[in-house]
């Protein structure tokens, strides 16, 4: 939030780059990545000799690579990407490389302040993690998924502890997967581990585990909940606490468990649970009946439900309101079409506290609450153009490309990062002008 206050909220419009010109200059211009504050726009460009490099605000990096991907801006506007040259992967931060090189590098992850960077790596035929260029000494047969602690100092990944012969189902069922935290594996191994996550104080790690082919539970720092379930989904720590909530499947259906004890009613489905910022409320996607989807807040489902899907709930900053993307189809059994939208189907919208916006859109991005929690807006797509919609009302301007808008700290203005007429602009617009 503090960083946002420091952004330029006065300049009405900055014309940052002419993307069309880039397109003329280079054989291929890939997807665009805008910085959080909108001041920078980056892409991967392909050169005549089929090599790749980056272009940030028109500044082309003279070094070229065989491969280049995973572009990201940190909140403080450092530009990161993964590069590949002479059979080696390297991570570059503002054109500076980490010293270490890798056989593979992926799952680029930033700490919330953007000051710490972690990636999964493969090096010397073994797998692990590199945090800020410090690669784990301990590496493993395989590593997948990465978690970076909120303070940015610790990393965890799911690892395979033993190599198995092909088709050794019995060896696999003895349990050869676990979690490694900062390079140290847990003592206990499992048949499966999924959904690794850190506690808010960065001290604990939780995952879903499967003991055998049938019994699931949650493990924290290698210790499992006493109760086992038919299935579980990803655990989540409560803010400012070490309590864990996770959806669990009992013989009656899905419910939410806190520290191993089911506390909610059962639903046909329950997943993507989220805490309110104050940690007092929980919202989750639920299916109160088969084929109907909604959000339940503190175990009370909204009155409305939707046929296709509801996306993860988003709390307002004051923890009082919840919004989510919802999707409905009138002809669910239609053959559908790859190239066209079928009338009445795939209608995306936003629902706030259970009430859907009146209109619907071809696509809707995650809802964004104003700092005062009174307004909800979202990037939406209509007729192939992107708009900002506020509280159900679609904005006047349609853009060729648009990034999620950002509220000014006082909630009066919006930062709009957009492409119009082939040009990338950074605009600051008062809310009432949208």
């Amino acid at each position: 939030m503090n960083q946002i206050a420091e952004w330029d909220w006065d300049t009405k419009e900055k014309y940052i780059a002419d993307i069309n010109e880039w397109r003329k200059k280079f054989p291929v211009v890939r997807g665009l990545v805008a910085s959080d504050d909108g001041e920078k726009i980056a892409t991967v460009i392909q050169t005549e000799d089929n090599r790749f490099t980056t272009c940030v605000n028109g500044d082309v990096w003279e070094e070229t690579f065989e491969r280049l991907w995973s572009l990201k801006f940190t909140p403080d506007n450092k530009f990161i990407c993964l590069t590949y040259k002479d059979y080696e992967w390297a991570l570059a931060v503002d054109k500076e490389f980490w010293e270490d090189r890798f056989d593979s590098a992926w799952n680029l992850t930033l700490s919330p302040d953007g000051k710490n960077i972690a990636i999964n790596v493969k090096k010397e035929e073994s797998y692990g993690v590199s945090l800020n260029g410090n690669t784990w000494e301990n590496r493993f047969v395989d590593a997948r998924d990465i978690a970076l602690s909120p303070d940015g100092t610790r990393t965890a990944t799911l690892i395979q502890t033993k190599r198995l012969k092909e088709g050794d189902i019995f060896g696999f069922q003895e349990g050869i997967w676990t979690v490694a935290v900062d390079g140290t594996p847990w003592d206990k191994t499992f048949v499966n581990v999924w959904g690794v996550t850190f506690s808010p104080d960065s001290k604990h790690v939780a995952v879903e585990v499967r003991f055998n082919l049938y019994d699931y539970t949650i493990a924290i720092d290698g210790k499992t909940w006493e109760k086992v379930y038919n299935c579980v989904w990803e655990p989540l720590f409560k803010p400012d606490s070490n309590d864990i909530i996770a959806p669990v499947k009992t013989s009656d259906g899905w419910t939410l468990a806190i520290n191993g004890q089911p506390v909610w009613d059962t639903y046909v489905q329950l997943w993507n649970q989220r805490f309110s910022p104050d940690g007092r409320r929980i919202a989750a996607i639920v299916a109160p009946e088969y084929g109907r989807w909604t959000i339940a807040v503190d175990n009370i489902p909204w009155n409305n439900s939707w046929s296709d899907a509801v996306l993860p709930p988003i709390f307002s900053p004051d923890s009082k309101r919840v919004a989510a993307v919802v999707k409905e189809s009138r002809n669910p059994f239609h053959m559908e079409s790859a190239l066209h939208n079928v009338e009445g189907n795939n209608r995306y919208s936003i629902a706030v506290d259970g009430t859907p916006w009146p209109g619907d859109f071809e696509m809707v991005w995650d809802p964004i609450f104003s700092p005062g929690s009174d307004k909800v807006l979202a990037k939406v797509e209509k007729n192939g153009k992107y708009f900002i919609a506020i509280d159900g009302r679609i904005g006047k301007h349609g853009y060729e490309a648009l990034w999620n808008p950002v509220f000014s700290p006082d909630g009066e203005k919006l930062l709009i990062r957009c492409v119009e007429g082939g040009r990338y602009y950074r605009r600051v617009v008062p809310i009432h002008e949208i």
């Binding site: 046909v268 009946e289 088969y290 053959m335």
Partner: protein, 225 residues
């Protein structure tokens, strides 16, 4: 034994309480089976959201019309026998003159009746169909492999009321009274057996057909016939 069978006491039992019991068991039992089936299927959650009236009807129609489905067309003899058997099995007892007289005597209701000679032929069709099915179960290897004694029992349950009815009408083999009593007894057994045996297919079959018809028609966009 024969005397016992012919006795008016037996007649008044089979003609009175037994008929009541039979119809009661048949109707209440079948209704109960339907209720249990629907409520358990409801609990499964995965069936009702995929049901479609239109495709249920489409499917049922193709299968209740002779040669309306590919498999009926592939087996003309079985198709003809199966349809004749079921039509005669169901409609002969309902529209038989003597049954109508009984309805009238008991409840004061009656309706259109079959000419007696036609009813006679229909009864014979049921009888010979049963013989056909009996031999098919023995001769056709794919049927024999899945045949249990209960399959013969079900066949016998369908067969005996018609055989005794036929014999009673023609007053063959046993004295009329004895045969009539036997006929009513077997008829009652058939009704009572419906909810307790795989004769339940006469009720469940419509539902399974409707379900598959819906899944194939609405979800899968194909024919199921």
């Amino acid at each position: 034994m024969l005397e016992f069978l012919m006795s008016p006491a037996v007649y008044s039992f089979v003609r009175g309480p037994l008929v009541w019991i039979a119809f009661l068991v048949f109707i209440v039992g079948s209704a109960y089976r339907i209720y249990v089936m629907i409520s358990t299927v409801k609990k499964e959650k995965l069936v009702l959201p995929y049901m479609s009236l239109r495709y249920s009807i489409r499917s049922i129609l193709h299968w209740v019309i002779p040669f309306g489905s590919v498999n009926w067309r592939r087996h003309p003899v079985i198709t003809i026998v199966t349809f004749l058997f079921h039509i005669c099995l169901v409609f002969t007892p309902i529209f038989l003159l003597s049954h109508n007289i009984l309805w009238h005597e008991s409840w004061g209701i009656s309706w259109w009746t079959l000419p007696e000679s036609l009813a006679d032929i229909m009864t014979l069709i049921v009888i010979f169909s049963c013989v056909f099915f009996f031999f098919r179960r023995i001769i056709a290897s794919e049927v024999r492999f899945v045949t249990y004694p209960s399959d013969f029992l079900i066949l016998a349950i369908a067969f005996l009321p018609f055989l005794t009815g036929f014999l009673a009408y023609h007053q063959w083999l046993l004295p009329h009274e004895a045969m009539v009593n036997l006929h009513i007894l077997f008829g009652a057994i058939m009704l009572i057996a419906v909810p307790f045996s795989r004769i339940i297919h006469m009720i469940f079959g419509w539902f399974t057909r409707a379900y598959t018809g819906s899944e194939f028609g609405m979800v899968r966009h194909v024919r199921d016939y």
